[in-house]
Subunit: 456 residues, 4 copies
């Protein structure tokens, strides 16, 4: 889970600021590190740990002069929170400087790395981005950009949406499955590639279109061209972008994220009605589907929970007895709204169940007569190998427990999940064009040890 | 606008953590600086610029050992963002160490300071807190705590809610007008004084009651006692705590903030209905009243605007052309929700009008057919001298313009404010017990150059 | 042990830089904190922990605009290493802003503070500088600067060399005993007051003269005037400035520090000759007296020890076995220079004896046949109450041990101290005009529990 | 100019501290960055900009657990002061983790890099260390450590002293010319490889011997072995290590640095006597040769100049008029020592001449009757390509000017350099075994555009 951008800007002093603003609007896609590479007289990169607004200041942006840029925000995955893993990765090669921003995950990363090591190559990081840069530089010895990406596509297994700076060319590429989104906009300043359309809005540009799976977008000397370099019989668009990950104001592959979530709420209301007094989201992930549920059901939308807006990465929670305080600090129940009421809570999904349990308890202790729970997705039963850090299969409560057992575990008076067909209808994309692996345990590409549905 | 807390905790290693957690839940009351003073073997203070979570870490909290503590979060007012102004202020006096956390504003600060300077006194800061500490230490030469506070009350003009550490005693005091809130809770750990009840919830304590205007609460040797030391014929509770400032999950002087805002929305709907397709808040300040308006009117509550959750203090906005991007970065319109719709936006108040204008423009550009605006308070026509930093009278758009002119200025299709009586009814507190000065220009205490309504 | 400066500079943009450079040349007088106060449109102060070069940068210096300034470097004394104790201390008073830089120590600090507390006064720090600012502001209510300093002098017991910023006046004052040095220079830019003449050299100014004990120097509107405001029958100039503390290129009260130390070496050679092959300093404190000893004795000056130039405050020495490595890291013996040689080591003084012992051991282990030790001062037998942090009487090895016992303790083949008369002759100042308390245990002013020699 | 170390330590919790202490004693070899790589369960590296004592603290050292380590301090060369260039460089390869610390400079760096890029390789830094890691990993595919280093030696042109961590093996290697020093010591803890013997002393270990040119030292499973893997007909030991660069307490290739400098002084006295009153070093670079000169000539050694010990990297020197103050801040003349005297100043070398000129002027302005200058090396006429950053040929004053012209330029009354034969005799190493390129313009290895003396 990361965010990528690419910028071509005619005013070379404005490029890094456009990059900064657009990354800022993709901050929800990753808060661990942020970086920008700019191609001017030379290619420079600046990156650091933390939020976009913490990494950059006016003087660092001013130093990054040039017409082309790519950027990246990185999600905090388990363990390795290191500056070495921050992107874009900038390498020098025979082709010239190559900078890479990557959103996705390579299933055959270790195979590829071993193969390269057999050749005597060395690696300074443990990221798949470095492997991609090695392969790319090799293919660019003999092929043009389109050719190199075409061979790369055959080599890589997994998901990869890339923004590249190849010398002064800005290149956007989306793997043939189209797991992760990428779209392109045009503004007065020039062009912008971004993971989500909200980044295009944020810099005042107009949305042009989504980059298609298997398609490359190249901006060279101010000219934009597209080429379809990999055939894609069937897409595998990540359904969790719609359920949880993307910003509600984004439109991905022609589908509004807000609308999808609103539809999810309406569908849930039809599939699993509840005899309650108020509908309340688990903030903020359940907000839109709760509004949809309330709209459909006619039950008032009234908040049962308030979230502390200042909970961030740096918050410390020291000591044993303090840990018990943790939930209360992040959320508080609105006593007057829930007292003696039958409350329906809606969240986008349940992963381990522990947080849901605490929230139900919080609302009940605040005086609710009944606490019902609805989930805006089917049960998550299998891990993701394509970029969403969802813990192991063992940790997923729905991988081993039935709905009634989960209801008991989270101590709700009733619990219902959205049906798979309800989800697919809410999104409005063909089932065969979606990656639903975490919900079905059937993977669109081969993953060792998992069942693959070859879509053809 | 600040937040204060006082803690008595039987486990002296837990005190600073309780203080930390409760300040964390009052973070919305001030983000400029944070500090905690703890009385153990000696009285120590630790404070710094920034958020509670930025100022403190595990090792600083661990060093602050003792049973008694007070804390403070400070709002960023114009100009002087200095560590010297951070609170609590700790002084040594004949009485012993005195630490002061203050929420409010002294109208006669300069008179008091000059008087003290005539005596040869020196000042290391420009804060009214230092003046309070001087007076307090003088009165404590001859009087006990209650006596000293009683004389202090006669001396000070303006608003002052205080949490004090007097040696190892924790003292909470609220001026006789009760401008700013203060309440007390009891937990397994001991006692907690706090500006708002959400802080009591956050540490798992039970709300006991509000400290009354003119009343002191003293926790000494683990025992809590109250004493009414100043007569208060009429209260002057700040109405803006309910409209905007306090957290919605707090209950202040017996009134739920959420309920008040929900009522405001309902009242607005009755007073100023609108023929629209959707009701949307200006996030986050208009959320609760929008929910109330939608509830009353039956028009769907659907968001027209998404706020970027990562907008913070450190965000830079460099350069001229960049400044135009600023609104888009903070908020984005949901095109699919507003296209060809008649949209009603609701905000808590309008100060200068510039932001409202930009928001209306944003929604209109996203395709709304009509954009109407409702405001959850009467027009703000006069400045606040009691602690809310609301700019000068000249900057207040409603101090010189009529509603129709304001509507024209913000380019809305219609505009309506809540009536004063509608506000008072929504709060449910007697008009004579509220400070409504910013809405009426009639001040409950004498302010040079302003009209005073002596309430008696 | 601290350094103070005062600057009057006609170019108001240069003032803070002159202050910076002169403080930089007094860095040896204190490395804990540094600060500068400048009087321009208002009086501003900037201070921080650490070296002058760490505290200030170009932008902080540029912000400090004005014609008058004072500055301070603070020595790290035991315990309280806090920013609160950094100087100059800036206070606001009826007189206006008062900034104080103080070098010295008040024997009656607690008496004075209690007296002020009886009056209801409060203290934000535990420094005698704050007490001085209280008294000064009181006296300035009724008297002019000279009058106020005159009364202050009667009130204070101990040593106090002050640089003051009184509104826009720069004031230098030296207590009637003249414990601590202060001199004045004139440059093209204006005037400079400084603890040592090396600071005057460092900014290209000409040395004018020493400020006399009991004399005030006032620079007002660019004009310098002196006034003798306190009678001083007998001076008590700190002899340790010459022995150890001052920089060798300074000239204090007409006496060259380098010459004094060179003379000490020559006198030592005459008083206590040694049959050795080489003379070597304990670097850097014994360098100049070693050169003098070698000059007088004709024995070659050849270094036995090399000091690591990068040993600083931040150096960590973790763990038990690591601690044994500590001496070797700071110094190393030059094996080839000492092997099979009779070596004479010279240091300026011996405080606890532990370091001397380790150094003797280091040289012996490197192969020296004999290791002799000479000390450029008489034994230190009593603590200092006037500003030099010399540990308690118990920790002073010479307070309880005879020379032969000390020799045994430090494991030298021979040991000799300079005689008191040898020291006095080397300095060339009348015995009655020197403070020799640490060497004689006879104090020039009353100190509770110590014997006072009233010099009259 | 850099410093390298390698450690094998039986107590794996002590390894990083031994590394820290030894790097600390090599701090004079580089102040730009410092780093340590440790091989324990995995290989970890920690590095940062600044001094050893600034980069590491107790917690970072504690995290670096393992029996093997290498370290590096880097000299600040022009331009690229970046964390990317800090060493050790850690890479992953088929062989396993490889960490490299390099002291030296590759003349054929760009040729090697281009060759590797032709193969599709990518580079993340611009350092020759990364090129070395690429080659090494390739050779290690087919050869053992000795074999790989042997082939590497044929490939690399220039100087390279390496400390390597190959998985858990600590490897020290010195190019067949032996440009840069490397020696090995044994302590109770285990073994230590270091650029200079002072590092061995600093950790209480015993000096075993120098690593010979073309020889590898491998510590594997606690066992030390040597192997001569490259024939070296003629050494080319850098003479500037003795003249200026190494610490005086080090013994390099059997020759004491202090003794060499002392001999240089004595030889200078014989070659170029001066009729003067005092001999003074330019501190600190001329100290030892001045002592030798004084010893030989019988003229007193008395300091004319005092150096400010706190001049460091961070010192700012803002503005035009301030720049004139710069010399005075670094050094001050001792007026009383030079007034009306004939002074002889001795420095180790003259590079551009500007500093020498300022120093002569400083002493003359302080009252010296005559100021003579002696230099402890022959004129530097040619640039160094093997690791000492000595500016371009054009900047070297002696590359275009005769001695008399230089004397005139620095405004000395007389000037003399040490003769080349005098230098060689002072060092005591065969001329044919020294690299004297900067003094003769004849290079021991081929450098494009320079004359090469092939020594055979």
């Amino acid at each position: 889970m990361c965010g990528v951008i690419g910028i071509y800007c005619e005013d070379e002093s404005l490029t890094s600021r456009i990059a900064y603003f657009s990354l800022f609007s993709l901050q929800h896609r990753g808060q661990e590190s942020a970086g920008v590479a700019v191609s001017g007289d030379s290619v420079q990169v600046y990156k650091g740990m933390g939020l976009v607004s913490e990494v950059f200041d006016d003087s660092t942006l001013t130093k990054l002069q040039g017409n082309s840029a790519i950027g990246h925000v990185r999600y905090s995955t388990t363990g390795e929170s290191k500056i070495e893993n921050a992107q874009p990765l900038l390498v020098k090669s025979k082709y010239g400087p190559i900078a890479v921003s990557h959103n996705g995950n390579l299933v055959n990363y270790w195979d590829l790395r071993k193969e390269l090591e057999e050749d005597g190559r060395v690696f300074l990081t443990d990221s798949d981005t470095e492997v991609i840069s090695h392969l790319l530089s090799s293919y660019l010895l003999d092929y043009d950009v389109e050719g190199a990406l075409s061979i790369l596509t055959e080599k890589l297994k997994g998901s990869f949406t890339l923004c590249l700076l190849l010398d002064d060319k800005v290149v956007g590429y989306r793997d043939p499955y189209g797991f992760k989104p990428l779209c392109i906009g045009e503004g007065e300043f020039g062009y912008i590639l971004a993971s989500e359309s909200c980044a295009i809005d944020s810099v005042g540009a107009e949305f042009l279109r989504d980059v298609k799976p298997g398609e490359v977008a190249i901006i060279e000397d101010g000219e934009l061209r597209f080429e379809r370099i990999a055939s894609s019989k069937q897409r595998a668009v990540c359904v969790f972008e719609y359920i949880y990950f993307a910003r509600p104001d984004s439109i991905i592959d022609g589908v509004s994220v807000y609308e999808t979530r609103f539809n999810i709420g309406r569908t849930l209301a039809k599939e699993s009605p509840a005899d309650v007094d108020i509908i309340s989201p688990v903030p903020d992930s359940g907000t839109t589907s709760s509004i949809g549920y309330a709209y459909e059901s006619g039950v008032p939308y009234i908040e049962a929970l308030i979230k502390n807006r200042y909970v961030g990465r740096t918050f410390i929670m020291p000591g044993q007895s303090s840990r018990e305080l943790s939930v209360r600090l992040k959320m508080n129940a609105l006593r007057n709204n829930v007292r003696d009421k039958r409350v329906l809570l809606i969240d986008d999904s349940i992963v381990r169940g522990t947080t849901s349990r605490r929230i139900v308890e919080l609302v009940r202790k605040a005086g609710a007569k009944e606490v019902h729970f609805r989930v805006g997705s089917p049960p998550i039963i299998a891990p993701c190998y394509f970029g969403i850090d969802m813990s192991t299969r063992e940790e997923l409560i729905a991988s081993s427990k039935k709905v009634e057992d989960i209801r008991h575990e989270i101590m709700a008076d009733s619990l219902a999940y959205l049906s798979l067909s309800g989800l697919i209808d809410s999104v409005g994309i063909d089932e065969s064009d979606l990656c639903l692996a975490c919900l079905t345990s059937e993977y669109p590409v081969e993953v060792p040890g998992e069942r693959c549905i070859r879509k053809c």
